[in-house]
Amino acid sequence: MKPTIESFKQNARVALHDPQLQRALAGLPTGLVANRAAARARLPEFEDLRDIGRDIKDHTLAHLDLYLEEYERKATAAGAHVHWAATAAEAREIILQICRDADAKIVTKGKSMISEEIGLNSALESAGIEVVETDLGEYLVQIRGETPSHIIAPAIHLTQDQVEADFRRLHKNLPQDRVLTEPAQLVGEARQVLREKFLAADVGITGANFLIAETGSSVIVTNEGNGDLTQSLARVHVVVASIEKVVPTREDVSSILRLLARSATGQEFSTYTTFSTGPRRPDDPDGPQAYHVVLLDNGRSELLGTAFREVLRCIRCGACMNHCPVYSAIGGHAYGWVYPGPIGSVLTPSLIGVKHAADLPNASTFCGRCEQVCPMKIPLPKLMRHHRETEFSLGGPSHRYRLGLKTWAWFAQRPKLYHVATRLATAALGAFGRRRGAFRRLPFAGGWTRHRDFPAPQGRTFQQLWAEHKAGAPR
């Protein structure tokens, strides 16, 4: 997926004026946010589990090489083909080759952000393979030629009306008089269409929420069951997963799973949690004949030795973006690449470089809600600040901004001068603003006064008044 982060401000502006999107986003507070709070309230151990989850991931990351080797050993012993891909291009080529070897015409896909990251769909389509997204939300964005706008609810930006219009436009066998006014009818229509694809697929590709070293297993989590139909019906099952997905044992994954659905949607547990190990066994009547796991690096190993290591704890729950006031205002597409919201603001610059993604870590007030809800306790604002430090050391964000900042900092480090300068500025501004109490327009503050008034200062500085007060003057 080609990043459009460099037009973030433009993307955001479009998003802010998109009534359909705004209507869809308005549902977040009473929906996903309230549901997570309720689920957390039902589990007294929730906060302890966050510490446990963080510790499991930190331990694993500190021994990632050894756990990956163990995972590979176990998976291979169970009959899996384990591939290592250093880059997105390599991963695409490996998967393409698997599809060629399987003479694949149709590929079904469970939801996988990694597959978005490596641009898998277009690579397969260019090779003449039909690719069908089966997660309903992914399917909806696929038929619109869009990308997902949320990592667990890919079509969260669409309204029901838009979906009906899309089905009418694109489903060839849909009779005109079929009623599609209720979500159930739309889901029924999608179920019918996609079932044909499940049954016809040669290769099924899924991601993995976790890879378990103890058993060499991959884990997927869905509510629809589409991942299961994808991976069980096709002849070949391909898992594409980034290297930091590994956890040591089934006990470890159990602890983290207690956090995942609750943080994502407020469910006690996702409907389907599936643990896959190798291909079908000799006496299995169903299941894939071949099972491949593609382990993707694509910049993650580089993060281990840096201040950004903590971002590798992420379990892709989406809680951060559900609670982010910026995401709630602009939606996921504005972020311009695979990962939106606070996790995107940290991960995207880490993977593609701050220079190409500078707006993302800057588009935050550091309100801290993301860190507060992250099940893995990733310090997202701190990591965004680190990106800003990198950006600053590279000369960003802009000459004008740096000048303003440096001027302020210069005065601030010289208290006596500062007090004189501020007295003058405050007096001037206060004089102009006294009558109305606020400015409708102010030079150098166009961004502010475009949308709101700028309150006038009271006219004297506190330091000035305090000095007078100490000298005995009445207040």
Binding site: H63, A213, T215, E224, G225
Partner: protein, 231 residues
């Protein structure tokens, strides 16, 4: 030429500051893998009686729109299934795997029920499987794939009927893993272990919940009470 595997592992090691093969690190990892420490058992299932666990289990499943039916002995299962299918206007044709507990039930007592054996076919409307374990903490059923309970039976048919014995109801996920370990060995796994907590659903259209997104639209869980004396 270094393989990608070697390149990635080497980058990981240098990122972690590992300059030589450290036997202590290996020991830590080995110990962690074999100790299989449970981190926490939720209070909701700690020190609960069998009755309380069943109530919890049932409550969660019903909340997720599954039907739960309790029978006193396994001989009652065919009648319970026939009842369920009849009262929901569902066809009396069931696909089942080779699970002996299921195939040896007195199906003759329900002569109108047609039993089909094997993996699920696209035209199957009702699938019947036997859960390896049931987890009380969230109303979750654990299934192990194999000729006894082919995995497609859990997903293809629109109606999924599950039989689980109360003696296989355990408090937590970790307990379910112990059941799996008892059956398959300490680290071996079947091709698929499914943890299923209700029928299929999606909220992807307008944020409203709809059942039967791709997997089964409805689920009936038949719990055989502990009153049943034997195999």
């Amino acid at each position: 030429m270094t393989s990608s595997r070697d390149a990635i592992l080497s980058k990981i090691r240098s990122g972690l500051g590992i300059t030589r093969d450290d036997p202590d690190r290996r020991t830590i990892v080995e110990r962690r893998l074999s100790s299989r420490t449970r981190h926490l058992t939720p209070a909701r299932v700690k020190e609960k009686s069998a009755e309380e666990l069943l109530k919890l289990f049932r409550g969660f499943l019903e909340r997720e729109s599954a039907t739960v039916v309790e029978v006193d002995k396994k001989q009652d299962i065919p009648a319970a299934i026939a009842d369920y299918l009849r009262s929901n206007n569902l066809p009396a044709r069931i696909r089942v795997g080779g699970d002996a507990m299921l195939t040896q039930l007195p199906w003759g007592s329900q002569p109108h029920l047609e039993m089909l054996l094997g993996r699920a076919q696209p035209s199957d409307e009702v699938g019947l499987t036997h859960a390896a374990a049931a987890v009380a903490e969230t109303g979750t059923l654990a299934f192990a794939s194999g000729p006894d309970n082919p995995v497609t039976l859990n997903f293809l048919p629109e109606t999924h009927i599950v039989v689980v014995e109360e003696r296989d109801l355990v408090p937590s996920y970790e307990d379910a893993w112990e059941s799996i370990r008892a059956r398959f060995g300490s680290e071996a796994m079947p091709r698929t272990v499914n943890f299923i907590s209700g029928p299929s659903r999606t909220g992807d259209i307008g944020g409203r919940l709809v059942m039967g997104a791709h997997g089964p639209r409805r689920m009936c869980v038949i719990v055989v009470r502990n009153s049943d004396p034997g195999p």
